[in-house]
Amino acid sequence: MMIITCPWCGPRNETEFHYGGEAGVAYPADPGVLSDEEWGRFLFVRSNPKGVLHERWSHNAGCRRWFSVHRDTVTHEVGPAR
């Protein structure tokens, strides 16, 4: 049972959160100009490091805010929220 620290509500159990995968993958400004390949990459390809991943969480059972953290996918250690 990991603790995820919500930037608003503080440390809570992971079960209160919804996982949102890799952070920093912005929705393209104009999807219409992307090639099929570029669009496919945006849709489906996300980083999957064995180590620190910058990832999104939403405090679903709490304040419902989205935020991102750096978390180690091996040790599950979580860095500061931002």
Partner: protein, 868 residues
């Protein structure tokens, strides 16, 4: 003689409380405070099990949870398999049975209760031995800290430091991320049949600790020798525990076989209790030993030790007490992510750093343990096949050598080849012996070979304990509408829709489902009917940019919606596949009410929040769930207007005043209400929303007002039929995550302008833009009485031919229709819209049923009925 091996005065058992129990076919007595093992030993019983593979007699080896041998079946008061005799507390009426490796489960349900609780502390101390008590006392001394001390044994008269919360009969079984530990407390087991039923038998503690102190002690190890599994052979420390704690003599004439000095204290104390003891020490330099430099080469006796061959002599003994040194108990430490290092002096693993806030104290950290190295391994001999490293899995030195001889090098492979370490005790006493044997066979060292990973739980935990109170009705929340009691009283069966309980249909006396649904459908098409639609998801979307926001999420444009109007809308996922559908009503210039499907209410709200917060934070929009603010009743059928007029006299209900796809605030049955003229059946219909606490009153008022019109409540099944007749898809039934709006015939709901919406780009990918995708179409079986099975597949040819048979699609919905006077189905069919009028075949279990492809809109395609 009763309890012939009970010492007259030693031990802590309560001799004023004798207890009667049965083991196998023998009835015996023990005392309060006994374990099954101590009580059996007091009665002179050593053989308590048979080994799983070889069927050899097995005895009691330890006095604790690490027991590798004495595994028994509890038969009464309630059957429980595979418990160690060393941890079962004796109570009146206990019936246990020897096992051969496999237990059995009670066929009748377990009526005991289980429970879980969360706990928080600044310091958690595991193990209430001397080191644990000292650590707890230390921690409690700092102001305000909550200290929990957990101990696996029953309460003892030892001192509990002030300010410490002591949990006894409690075993920490798992150590997880962020100092989260799980413990099992055995609360009523020791009471047997007298356990109060309402009290939880076992309780799961979920403990979050600021820091953890592990004072988990050490497990003594065996020394391998031929026939070292014979009953009467046990760990020296166990013999001492039986004497000290239970006043039990494990024998009258004992050989102590040791490689370390702890044996001498055991020998002295046993002698003091009247046992004849001979000490054989494997070390040549052992001045206190009776037999220094000795090797135990054989055991006499078949079902119980009667003698040993040691140092070239034969001794008559009835117990062999072995100590091969100690292994610190680091299971929890390892689970926490702690590193372990092999210490040559101890011949064992020691803690070597952990990222979590945990410290290890006492024997678990190696403090006070004899530095005797690993147990001496025997030279290869003919007896290797009778020299055991893992008693419970019947793994011998020969078997381990066979594994290495076959070419296996990793201790993990050896474990899997031999099954060593995989039994009930998970290798607590055998893990190191296995590694040492592998090391010896490979000419390597125990340090290099290592041990296998420690996994939770530390001791076996019953399924029911982990299930806790999430059983029966509490297994999952059942969400109820405010009208639920009415449906229940009316005898409606319920359909699970996600967590919701929805009324499925309302059978009258003697009606089956088909008859009830036929009647309900007829009422909706020809009279007036009503349904509890309160489960529909409802989201209040407000703010200056609400229209723009909805434009981005829906395939069609919502910002142009007039105040007072309602529009149907479809949402796609990013991949262009249909995510949800519903209606959008404009309440004011900057406020909308969105409805979602019952199952997707939370998902759609989450979707909105995610886009708003992560992609479009500049949009000034707020989304609030109002699903349970509003109870919703759908009033349906040509007679709906009349009924509504009766309960809402102030509302102008004529077509001109209240046209289709409009909403009005009104007073309905004296209740403040919002009425939507929308229809999921094609009939004239109103969806009346009132505050949830008024839902029941509204329902009753409508039933009363419609009584003379024969108003008919209907359930989800009828709702499904009515919408299918109109070709309205149900997300999740007619879609499966691979269906685009156009596939469903909803191309009209995709805006013509080039403005983006979520998922739009995906629709022009090569595969998604194909014209020969599967389309939602109608199917009419040639035989109008034949009902296709939902899930039936569609092929274009007959006969089927050998597999693999290419197919064109499948039936998503299928019903008998009173309105159509026949059966019909909806199906997703390759190039379906181009096949309208074609003959295809539905196949069910190999039979072929001819069908005609039609439009998916089968009833009232002109939409003539919606105004009544």
């Amino acid at each position: 003689m009763s309890q012939p091996f009970r010492h007259p005065d030693r031990g802590r058992v309560d001799r004023t409380r004798p207890l009667t129990f049965r083991f196998g076919d023998r009835t015996m007595t023990g005392f309060a405070g006994d374990t099954l093992a101590s009580a059996l030993l007091a009665n002179g019983v050593h053989e308590v099990a048979r080994s799983v593979n070889l069927g050899r007699p097995r005895g009691i080896v330890t006095a604790g949870v690490e027991e590798p041998s004495a595994v028994v079946q509890i038969e009464a008061p309630f059957p429980e398999p595979m418990l160690t005799a060393t941890t079962v507390e004796v109570y009146d009426g206990l019936v246990a049975h020897p096992l051969r490796g496999q237990g059995w489960l009670a066929p009748e349900p377990d009526s005991a209760r289980y429970d879980a609780v969360w706990a928080h502390c600044e310091v958690l101390v595991v193990g209430a031995g001397a080191a644990g008590i000292a650590a707890a006392a230390d921690a409690a001394a700092s102001t305000g800290d909550r200290v929990i001390l957990v101990d696996e044994r029953p309460p003892r008269p030892s001192e509990v430091p002030a300010g410490v919360r002591l949990l006894t009969r409690t075993t920490v079984v798992g150590y997880y991320d962020d100092n989260f530990l799980v413990a099992v407390q055995r609360r009523t087991n020791h009471l047997g049949a007298a356990a109060p039923l309402e009290q939880a038998r076992e309780r799961l503690w979920r403990i979050r600790a600021g820091r953890v102190v592990l004072a988990t002690g050490a497990h003594e190890r065996l020394i391998p020798f031929p026939d070292n599994d014979r009953p009467g052979i046990m760990l020296a420390g166990a013999a001492l525990a039986y004497l000290r704690d239970y006043g039990v003599l494990v024998g009258r004439r004992a050989l102590v076989y040791t490689n370390n000095d702890t044996a001498y204290r055991v020998a002295d104390e046993l002698r003091g209790a009247g046992v004849d003891v001979v000490v054989a020490d494997t070390r040549a330099d052992a001045p206190a030993a009776d037999l220094p430099g000795a090797r135990l080469s054989g055991v006499l006796g078949d079902r119980r030790v009667t003698g040993v061959r040691v140092a070239g002599r034969q001794l008559d003994v009835d117990a062999v007490l072995v100590t091969g040194g100690f292994s610190p108990v680091l299971h929890l430490y390892s689970q926490a992510g702690g590193r372990l290092r092999y210490d040559d002096g101890l011949g064992a693993l020691l803690p070597d750093g952990c990222r979590q806030r945990v410290e290890v104290v006492g024997a678990a950290a190696g403090v006070g343990l004899p530095r005797c190295g690993p147990p001496p391994m025997p030279e290869p001999s003919d007896a290797d096949g009778r020299t055991f490293v893992d008693l419970q899995r019947d793994v011998t030195i020969a078997e381990v050598r066979r594994a290495t001889g076959a070419g296996l090098r990793s201790v993990e492979h050896v474990k899997r080849y031999t099954t060593a370490g995989t039994a009930h005790d998970q290798g607590k006493t055998s893990g190191l012996l296995t590694s040492a044997t592998v090391a010896a066979a490979l000419g390597s060292s125990a340090a290099e070979v290592g041990v296998t990973t420690f996994r939770p739980p530390y001791v076996p935990v019953s399924f029911a304990t982990l299930a806790g109170r999430d059983r029966d009705d509490l297994f999952d929340a059942a969400r109820l509408t405010p009208i639920h009691d009415w449906h229940l009283a009316r005898g409606a069966p319920f359909e699970n829709v996600g967590q919701w309980k929805r009324a499925w249909y309302y059978p009258r006396d003697g009606e089956d489902m088909a008859a009830a649904v036929t009647r309900e459908c007829r009422a909706a098409r020809t009279g007036v009917a009503m349904m509890d639609a309160s489960t529909l998801g409802k989201i209040d979307v407000q703010g200056p940019d609400a229209g723009e926001f909805l434009d981005r999420l829906y395939t069609n444009v919502m910002s142009t919606l007039a105040i007072g109007a309602v529009r149907y809308g479809v949402m796609c996922r990013l991949d262009g596949m249909v995510f949800d559908d519903g209606t959008v009503a404009r309440l004011t210039a900057d406020r909308f009410l969105v409805t979602t499907t019952t199952g997707n209410a939370a998902a759609v709200l989450d979707w909105m929040e995610e886009w708003l917060q992560t992609e479009w934070p500049h949009l000034r929009v707020w989304c609030t769930s109002v699903t349970e603010q509003w109870a919703t009743v759908a009033l349906v059928g040509p007679g709906a207007r009349g009924v509504l007029a009766r309960v809402a006299p102030d509302l102008a209900v004529d077509v001109e005043s209240f046209p289709f796809m409009r909403w009005r605030d009104a007073t309905v049955a004296g209740l403040p209400a919002r009425v939507f003229r929308i229809s999921f059946s094609g009939e004239l219909a109103y969806e009346i929303n009132v505050a949830t606490w008024h839902g029941y009153a509204l329902w009753q008022a409508l039933m009363t007002a419609g009584a003379d019109a024969g108003i008919t409540p209907y359930g989800t099944e009828t709702m499904h039929v009515l919408r299918a007749e109109k070709g309205y898809p149900i997300v999740g039934q007619d879609t499966d995550g691979t269906v685009t709006p156009d596939d469903l015939g909803l191309g009209w709901a995709i805006r013509k302008s080039t403005k983006d919406f979520v998922g739009r780009r995906s629709l022009s990918r090569p595969d998604t833009a194909r014209s020969d995708r599967k389309h939602l179409v109608g199917l009419l079986p040639d035989d109008p009485t034949l009902l296709l099975v939902e899930g039936a597949h569609i092929v274009g040819h007959t006969p089927l031919g050998p597999p693999p048979v290419p197919y064109l699609g499948h039936v998503t919905s299928s019903y008998p229709s009173v309105a159509l006077g026949r059966t019909f189905a909806l199906a997703l069919v390759t190039s379906g819209r181009q096949r309208i009028g074609e003959r295809l075949y539905a196949t069910v279990n190999g039979t072929l049923i001819p069908v005609e492809v039609t439009s998916h809109v089968l009833y009232d395609p002109e939409g003539a009925r919606r105004d009544g």
